[in-house]
Amino acid sequence: MQVPAFFEYQRATSVAHVVTLLERFGPEARIVAGGHSLIPMMKLRLAQPELLVDVNDLHELAGITVEDGVLRIGALTRHAELLASPLAGEHFPILHDAERVIADPVVRNRGTIGGSVCQADPSEDLSGVFTALRAVAVVRGVDGDRTVPMREFFHGPYETAVRPAEILVELRVPLQPGAGSAYVKVDRRVGDWAVAAAGAVVSLGPGGVVEQVGIGLTAVGDADFTAVEAEDLLRGRVADEYTFAAAGEAAATHCRPVADQRGPVDYKRHLAGELTVRALRDATARAHRGGSTE
């Protein structure tokens, strides 16, 4: 039987309360949201916090809204809520593509968007999604709010820009009218973590030329989950199969997968390239249709 070690528990009544508790207890205190990454780690003694601060009552952290040209996703939004949100799907189909293949429906009822990105597991699907989207994280501490671009958010496996006495409040995704987006993943069985996955966000200019592009890669060893070389190569070129193939090759060359039970290095490298091509193809097709999935 797996049971966590002893710890204390407090249920936070406000975001300010969370920050006060984290400040007082130092790095031995941890936030618990859905608990679907942290509780398994505590059972295995990979994490042994002295205090858990439960944020599940904080409605100020929930909700998906569009304001001033920005899609705002509260940190406590559950995977299931993001998947069910027409607002999210209408602006960025990549969010629904990804949520459909994250874990299973019961886990998605509990796991949160904030917990996913703060966990910073190298295989976390949403990490690749939000870097592709160039989202911005809003983080709150004693000194108030600060913003961190998702491309600077990940500091390595299980490490992020969120400091010990800070809490992630929300993710902001600037709307990109007309852009198309998509996410594709290869897993061993339904609901499993990715062997590899790629997300793409594409804006087209006159003549089908790529104006702006974001590519996110998951589970292939890119600490920042992005394929910058492939993005550089795409900008200013016509979005066609020839360009996609070149971008896929760049993504495959520059990623750094490690061999594990999900597959050897060459296989993952191959997937990084091929999935980049497929994500670009789908995102571009959606961009031609004005960004939607229809």
Binding site: M1, Q2, V3, P4, A5, F6, F7, E8, Y9, R11, V32, G35, H36, I39, P40, M42, K43, L52, D54, N56, A80, A103, D104, P105, V106, V107, N109, R110, V190, G191
Partner: protein, 155 residues
């Protein structure tokens, strides 16, 4: 917290998992405890109306919330339709996965009274059955949907 509509007050350690509170303290052993790693779904119960894996929820996190377990499916007039349909369609063999399957099936039909087979398979995709090969589980949920539609007088 309330469990199956009954208020429960307990003094517990924060590290107690919800599945163990239900089974060991409240003696509600209908909820099964399998993999302990949130993969098999045998421990699925409802918390505030949503199916969750109770091996990965701390019991203290359910403080003040409402929990519903498989024991609550049966009503004053007998078995819930999903229970009856699992019996009628051989949706179980050893029965280990069944409590979780039933709780997810009940939620699915409450939200979507006429699901496709694909939607049924998706809904139970976080749950593992070692015996049935899933075919009869899907058939049982389909059967329950049809029986409930007939009961409501839908065509």
């Amino acid at each position: 917290m309330t469990v199956n509509g009954v208020e429960q007050v307990r003094d517990i350690e924060p590290r107690l998992l919800l599945v163990h509170l239900l089974r060991d303290e409240l003696r509600l052993t209908g909820t099964h405890w399998g993999c302990d790693t949130s993969n098999c779904g045998a421990c699925t119960v409802w918390m505030d109306g949503l199916p969750v894996k109770s091996c990965t929820v701390l019991a203290v996190m359910a403080d003040g919330r409402s929990v519903r377990t498989v024991e609550d499916l049966e009503g004053p007039f007998g078995l819930d339709q999903v229970q009856q349909s699992f019996m009628d369609c051989h949706g179980l063999q050893c029965g280990f996965c069944t409590p979780g399957m039933l709780m997810t099936a009940r939620k699915l039909l409450d939200d979507n009274p006429d699901p496709t087979d694909t939607e049924i398979r998706e809904a139970i995709s976080g749950q593992i059955c070692r015996c049935t090969g899933y075919r009869n589980i899907v058939a049982a949920i389909r059967h329950a949907a049809d029986a409930e539609a007939a009961g409501r007088g839908d065509t």
